[in-house]
Point group: C2
Chain length 259, copies 2
C-alpha cells in the first residue's frame, strides 16, 4: 500500500524525527511504499495568499475561497501545493505527524492544510440540496483513504485525561480529526500519542516504537473512529444539527461519533 507521512518538526534528531524514521523503515520492511513530506526540510510556505495561484490574485480583492477555486479548476495552482494534492491522491493512508504546540498542530502544518486543501479538492465539492450538503464529513475527494495522527506532547497523560486541565486529548484533536481529516472523506483511526516527551528515555523510546509498530501493522484493519456521516440522515439539512432523536439531550464533540 502507499503511505504518505506529512511531518512537521524542525529537528531531524528529535523524538519526532526518530519516530518518523522508525515508521518509514517499519512500513517499508512490510512492503509498503512510503513518501514523506518533511515540511521544515521542504521550507514549506505556510501562509495562504494570492501567490498560491500562478496567475496571482484573480480580482481586485483577493478572496481565499474564490481564488483557490479558480486556480484549482484551471490547473493554475502553485506547483508545491499541486504536488501535495498528487501525493494525497496517490496515498492509501496518510499520517500527520507533529508535536502538539499550543494545543494544535504547528503553524507550518496548518499552512500545509490551508494551501493544499483547495476549493474543489477538499471543500466546495459535491451538490447542495435539501438532502445533501456537499460531499463532506464522510464523503469527498479523499473518501476510501485512511488517516491517523502521530502526536507528541510535553504535558503528562493526566493533564489530557477526561478531567485534565488541558482538556481531553480526543476533544483537543477533534477539530483536526473531524474538521480536517473526516471532512474531505478520510476514515480516521484513533491517534497515536506520546505524552511527557522530556521523560522518554531509551527504554521509553523502545516501548513507543513497539506500540507504533503495532499501530502501523494494523493500519488497514483498525476500526476507524465512528464519526457520523453528514448526508446519511443523522443531521437535519441545511441546519446541520444532529437529529433530535439521536443522542437526545447530548451536546459537544463526542456526540458526533457513534458511541
Amino acid at each position: 500500500m502507499n503511505v504518505l507521512i506529512v511531518y512537521a518538526h524542525p529537528e531531524p534528531k528529535s523524538l519526532n524525527g526518530s519516530l518518523k524514521d522508525f515508521a518509514v523503515k517499519h512500513l517499508e520492511d512490510a512492503g509498503h511504499v512510503v513518501k514523506v513530506s518533511d515540511l521544515y526540510a521542504m521550507k514549506w510556505k505556510a501562509p495562504l495568499d494570492a501567490s498560491d495561484s500562478m496567475d496571482g490574485q484573480a480580482c481586485e480583492r483577493f478572496n481565499p475561497a474564490l481564488d483557490s477555486k479558480l486556480a484549482f479548476e484551471n490547473g493554475r495552482q502553485a506547483k508545491d501545493l499541486a504536488e501535495e494534492q498528487d501525493k494525497l491522491q496517490w496515498a492509501d493512508a496518510v499520517i500527520l505527524q507533529f508535536p502538539l504546540w499550543w494545543f494544535s498542530m504547528p503553524a507550518i502544518l496548518k499552512g500545509w492544510v490551508e494551501r493544499v486543501y483547495a476549493y474543489g479538492f477538499a471543500y466546495g465539492v459535491g451538490e447542495h440540496s435539501d438532502t445533501h450538503w456537499g460531499d463532506r464529513y464522510g464523503e469527498g475527494t479523499l473518501a476510501g483513504k485512511r488517516a491517523m495522527l502521530m502526536v507528541t506532547t510535553g504535558g503528562w497523560e493526566s493533564h489530557y485525561s477526561a478531567r485534565g486541565i488541558n482538556g481531553p486529548i480526543d476533544d483537543i484533536l477533534f477539530p483536526i480529526q473531524h474538521g480536517i481529516l473526516y471532512y474531505p472523506g478520510f476514515d480516521v483511526l484513533p491517534p497515536f500519542v506520546i505524552y511527557r516527551t522530556d521523560r522518554v528515555g531509551e527504554a521509553g523510546f523502545t516501548k513507543a516504537c513497539e506500540t507504533l509498530a503495532e499501530r502501523l501493522d494494523k493500519l488497514w484493519t483498525t476500526e476507524p473512529i465512528a464519526f457520523r456521516p453528514q448526508n446519511a440522515g443523522a443531521y437535519d439539512i441545511p441546519a446541520l444539527t444532529l437529529r433530535a432523536d439521536i443522542a437526545p439531550g447530548q451536546t459537544g464533540f463526542s456526540m458526533h461519533s457513534e458511541q
Copy 2:
C-alpha cells in the same frame, strides 16, 4: 487604555479588514491608543525554527523549548518576536482577529503564537511545587490584561451550535481561549463571532459594526469567561485533574469554567 489588535487576513478590503478598520477608529475615537500587528502586511515569518535566536541553534540538536529559553534569558531573540512581546507588555487589552480556517486560526497567526510565546515569557514561568504548578492558567506574564477573539466563519451559526455538525463554537475556540489566552494569564472575554460571511451585505455589515462597537465599549467591564485557575485549589497537583468534588461526574472542556 492601550489596545493591541493582532490581525490575520491577506486582503485589506475583506470583511475582516473592514471590521479591523472599524475597530481601530472606534477605539481611537473613544480615546484609546491602538496598535495593529497586521501579520500578512508584516510578512510575518510563521514557522518556529532556530533562526528565532540571533545566535542560531544553541546545541547540536535544535530544541524548541530550550533554545527559546536561552534566547529569551540572554536577550538574543529575533527582533520581530521581541517587538511583539513588547507590544503585549504595553497593551491593556489584546484582540486576536482572524477568519476561522479549518476550525482554527490561520497558520500565520498560529506562527505568531508559537514564536512570540517564548519560554520564560508565556510558558516555563514560575515555581513548580506540590501546590503550585508554574504560573499558568490564570497566572503568568500577561495576568491583569484582557483578551478577546474576533472571528468570522463561512459556516452558519446553526452549524456551530450546541448540536451543530462542526461542534459548538465555544468548544472549537477552547484550545485558543483557554490554551493560548488564559494560559499565560489573560482574562478572556466571550468571543465576537460573525457567521456566514458570504451573506454579510451592507445591512449585515452595519449591524455587525453596531454589535462590535458595543463589545468594544464594554472591553473593560464585560465579565470574563470564568475559567478555573490552576493553582487556587480546584486541581490536584501534579496530576492537574479537576478535584473529584467539583463538577462531579462531568468531563470535557466546559467543566473548566465555573457555570
